[in-house]
């Protein structure tokens, strides 16, 4: 495939992931209002925090009547993995100045996953940008729709949209896992650590702890 083909494939991937994952914003909007947030509060979170897991963590804790300090801390722990993605994305995106300030807002699970699945740096950048733009627009519009309770989309869980995230990550990791036994061991190790840690740590920590599997590989 030539450069243009790689880039159009990346753009197609980005649009697909962006639309499918972005639709789940309706679940966030609805959950936020149910938890007691106002419609503007739900929308500000989607516009400015723009990282689904953290947003759900904050509203979930607020809805459960938890204190706000621990609710915010839990959300920030979940946001911690975006820092680790950023270390990798810095090399892929190579952006500086004001463009870096904009790109930073887009460093989340889905954009990182789509970028890493691309065969060339140009395609990776195209994939990142398309995914970021598509999710940002869709996620914010569906947040508003879900918060207003006027969504025509129905319940995202009934449409099976809650499996789109994990299926996206699996599909994107698949070729790399198929090609490398080391990555397969890392992936299985990371899954095991996260699942074993889940009962004992607050949300967000188990996924961060899975990075220990990488340290084990590096030390060997």
């Amino acid at each position: 495939m030539d450069q243009t083909t790689h880039r159009s494939a990346a753009i197609r991937d980005g649009l697909g992931v962006g639309l499918a994952v972005g639709l789940s914003g309706v679940a966030f909007g609805a959950a936020a209002v149910t938890a007691g947030l106002s419609v503007p509060q739900a929308c500000v979170l989607s516009l400015l925090a723009f990282t689904g897991a953290s947003q759900f963590a904050l509203t979930g804790a607020v809805g459960a009547g938890g204190d706000l300090l621990s609710a915010a801390s839990g959300a920030l722990l979940l946001g911690g993995r975006n820092t680790l993605y950023g270390l990798r994305m810095a090399d892929v995106l190579r952006v500086r100045g004001p463009r870096r300030l904009v790109a930073a807002h887009g460093v989340i699970d889905e954009t990182t996953a789509v970028a890493l699945a691309q065969p060339t740096p140009a395609a990776a950048r195209a994939g990142f940008t398309t995914t970021f733009a598509t999710i940002y627009i869709t996620w914010n519009l569906t947040t508003l729709a879900g918060a207003l309770g006027t969504s025509a989309l129905g319940d995202p869980a009934m449409l099976g949209l809650d499996v789109v995230g994990p299926a996206t990550f699996l599909a994107i990791l698949w070729p790399r896992l198929a090609a490398s036994a080391e990555l397969r061991r890392l992936a299985v190790g990371g899954m095991a650590i996260a699942l074993l840690a889940t009962p004992f740590f607050p949300p967000g920590v188990p996924v961060l702890l899975s990075a220990l599997a990488v340290l084990v590989v590096l030390v060997r």
């Binding site: 697909g16 947030l37 509060q41 400015l48 925090a49 990282t51 607020v62 204190d67 706000l68 609710a71 915010a72 959300a75 920030l76 946001g79 975006n82 820092t83 680790l84 993605y85 950023g86 270390l87 990798r88 090399d91 995106l93 870096r100 790109a103 930073a104 807002h105 460093v107 989340i108 699970d109 996953a113 009934m158 449409l159 099976g160 809650d162 499996v163 789109v164 994990p166 299926a167 996206t168 990550f169 699996l170 599909a171 994107i172 990791l173 896992l177 990555l183 890392l186 990371g190 899954m191 996260a194 699942l195 889940t198 009962p199 607050p202 188990p206 996924v207 899975s210 990075a211 990488v214």
Partner: protein, 103 residues
């Protein structure tokens, strides 16, 4: 702490966390150990995320047959070398179908 303050803190904090990785100093990014760590860590985190989203619910291990069915459909589609968007559609459709069947 009012709710708006908590929201402001989460928005500012989440953005700072994203920027911290992307804006890490060049010397840090170019260090061989950091470079290798940064290459491997997204694979591990995304795999861990799959496990957590699939098999936990509110801080406990949990099994949802609908979601598991959807992921199994994704695996089958991937083994059949289906295009990416077909994999996602197969997963979502299977999950939705199992939910309808199980009520």
């Amino acid at each position: 702490m009012t709710l708006w303050w908590a929201i402001a803190a989460v928005c500012a904090g989440c953005y700072a966390l994203k920027l911290a990785g992307l804006a890490a100093p060049r010397q840090v990014l170019d260090h061989p150990v950091v470079r290798r760590f940064a290459e491997l860590v997204p694979v591990t985190l995304l795999a861990a995320l799959i496990a957590v989203q699939m098999f936990t619910h509110q801080g406990a291990l949990a099994f949802d047959p609908a979601r598991a069915g959807g992921l199994a459909a994704a695996v089958i589609a991937l083994l059949l070398r289906a295009p990416f968007l077909v994999v996602l559609a197969a997963a979502a459709a299977t999950t939705a179908l199992v939910r309808v069947l199980l009520g």
